[in-house]
Subunit: 179 residues, 2 copies
DNA sequence: AGGCGCATGTAATGGGTTACATGATTGA
DNA sequence: TCAATCATGTAACCCATTACATGCGCCT
């Protein structure tokens, strides 16, 4: 999932301490992208060394260090979003890139989305074939019914994601809306 | 995800060689549960040592080793399905357990499914609150629209999974259908 | 005075990923 | 005979997970 970039993006949204980051990753953020506080502290250390983020002692809470993304780190996020190809099945990574796109201007995600859509459509077609071939019978045994249920989980997931993708498409389209 | 148990269950469905297992994990199976051939060979070695599976040279293809699950391994699968609690967000692990349930009799998954349903309903409620609180405005900026899209991905996922769970419920219910 | 939550870290383990390696079979 | 696929493995690295550790501040 690329923990460092997930952290960078979270810091772009709001500069935070390691502790606060850990809490954010425990809450809403953590449903898609997970990181423990140990990973967070380790990556923060590395990223400070790399010059991607800065550290400052919090004025209010004495023993708190607030991390913020430096321009170099911002560029690194943009580079990662643009250049790192998405594996199949990496929808949550795409969501992470969307988050980056929401914070720092448009990054041209249309092509990557289109690719995901193509792959997921293809997978859905495969599932549909299996469905017709293996589960066409009127009566299924318990085992078959369960295997069918597993397949249906896949089918539903694909369909629901594709419907979502159709909605987001316009938001990441490179062409201006009314050109 | 527990690679060893994923392999055991795949072997229960069909005794295979390491190579064939790797191919199965590359295809349909691998959409939910992934394992490279190196992991597979390592785990097969361990499980043979543990007495969970047996090895036999394939009669047809000379240099092929066919692995099959022994009774002890079968019991281990049943134990794992029953006793290992599901973390939140481990829906694919539940699917893996369903596959085990499909191969070796009913294993009493109703309770675990009910728990997942409760958790996912709660999460959906949280998302709905965020939706109303943060995205009620008529006009959203580009960034807000994208953040909303990310939230909607979560909402859709929850809804679609809950609909699926409602369908599977009867299949794993412990009570007999018409008692 | 003691316990709990805050806040930051270190250390060790185990598993996943990648690269490397070998030999046998099949088809062009 | 050359390349590609089959089939099995070893080795090294990196990362995630778990456990351990420390000290401050607040509340009772």
């Amino acid at each position: 999932m690329s923990t460092p970039h997930a952290i960078l993006i979270a810091l772009l949204e709001k500069p935070s301490s390691g502790y606060d980051l850990a809490r954010r990753f425990d809450r809403a953020i953590g449903y898609f992208w997970q990181a423990t506080h140990q990973q967070i502290y380790r990556e923060l250390g590395r990223m400070v060394a790399a010059g991607w983020v800065s550290v400052m002692d919090d004025a209010a809470a004495s023993r708190k260090k607030v991390y913020a993304v430096l321009p170099v780190g911002r560029d690194e996020v943009a580079r990662w979003v643009r250049e790192t190809p998405l594996g199949p099945n990496e929808r949550n990574v795409f969501l992470l890139k969307l988050r980056a796109d929401a914070v720092i201007g448009p990054l041209g995600l249309a092509e990557q989305l289109a690719r995901l859509v193509r792959e997921n459509r293809a997978r859905l077609a495969v599932y549909r074939e299996i469905e017709q071939r293996d589960f066409g019978a009127a009566v299924l045994s318990r085992g078959q019914a369960l295997q069918y249920a597993i397949l249906k989980a896949g089918i539903r997931t694909q369909e629901s994601w594709l419907a979502w993708a159709a909605e987001v498409g316009p938001l990441v389209s490179d062409a201006s809306p009314d050109a």
